[in-house]
Amino acid sequence: MSGTPLAVASMNVGDQLPSFEVRPDPVQLFCYSAITWNPHRIHYDAPYSRDVEGYDDILVHGPLMGSWLMRLCETWVRPWGRVASMTYRTIASVHPGTTLTVGGVVTVGGDAPEADIWVALPDGAFATQGSVRAVRTGGADGAPSTAVNDDRLDGGQRR
């Protein structure tokens, strides 16, 4: 796997990570609240979010944006290595129905590559921003069959 064009191209400064688009909807937010056992009302109770908390609608979970970033990084490194560490923070709150781009760019190449990563709003502003450090292991912990193959524009959330 380490000889594939993707593996080579992804190691150079300035190269893009394998970005994808998502458009979170209330069904995805429900599932994320359920699997993380998060009873916080701002993620499912729209009248409460508007009338009590003063938001326009329910909110996309900050950790869900972190989860997308980790999916991005895992897809990027799996052909040649593993993710060593990640840092991220949420900058803007996001409502469902917003089309988001999950992407990144390589900032350090070599055997310990690094990249800037983000979840971007339609106008290009960042909703979440961070960085990742990876380690090249020569593909030893990844089998050829392990690529994340769901590259649908909506991240598998089409309805």
């Binding site: 599932c31 699997i35 009873p39 701002i42 895992e74 593993r82 060593a84 959330q157």
Partner: protein, 163 residues
């Protein structure tokens, strides 16, 4: 006005260790499908074993399930009006809490059948002045360890901002 009272300050160094969390194939599948991940090593035991793992492996990020679920495992009558829980938040006059930066170091993958014990410690506590008034930054140091061997699987630091 200061938010950080002496009582709140005494929370620096506070520690909490939770009961071990048994990671199941079902939870891994639920997490993967919620994120739109359909890679077979997260869903198919045979595929995962062919790739050299004991069982299906969790996608990167699965530890967030444990981190967020564990503090909310309370009788429903103990949850706040907004559905939240205290989750080791020092007592202040702050009205809102927001998520700050999270830094995560990945040591080993999480695999179905693992029992993961989360421990949490308040490693920093400081007040800063923001445009809207005082802000308190609470820094939590987290360790996710595999029961039995005690191996460190993930270490993490996250900051909660109170205002």
């Amino acid at each position: 006005m200061s938010l950080l009272t002496d009582e709140a300050r005494s929370w620096l160094g506070a520690e909490q260790t939770f009961e071990p969390w048994l990671v199941t194939r079902m939870q891994i599948a639920q997490y993967a499908y919620t994120l739109g991940i359909t890679d077979r090593i997260h869903l198919d035991v045979e595929e995962a074993r062919r790739a050299g793992y004991r069982d299906v492996i969790a996608p990167l990020g699965f530890h967030l399930v444990i981190r967020h679920a564990v503090p909310n495992l309370l009788p429903i009558s103990e949850l706040a009006e907004d559905g939240g829980s205290d989750d080791m938040t020092p007592p202040t006059a702050a009205q809102r809490r927001m998520a700050g930066e999270t830094s995560t170091t990945f040591h080993e993958p999480i695999v179905a059948g693992d029992e993961i014990r989360l421990s949490k410690r308040i490693g920093s506590l400081e007040e800063k002045s923001g445009r809207s008034g005082p802000l308190v930054f609470v820094g939590y140091d987290l360790e996710y360890r595999r029961e039995g061997t005690g191996d460190l699987v993930i270490s993490e630091r996250y900051v909660r901002i109170l205002r």
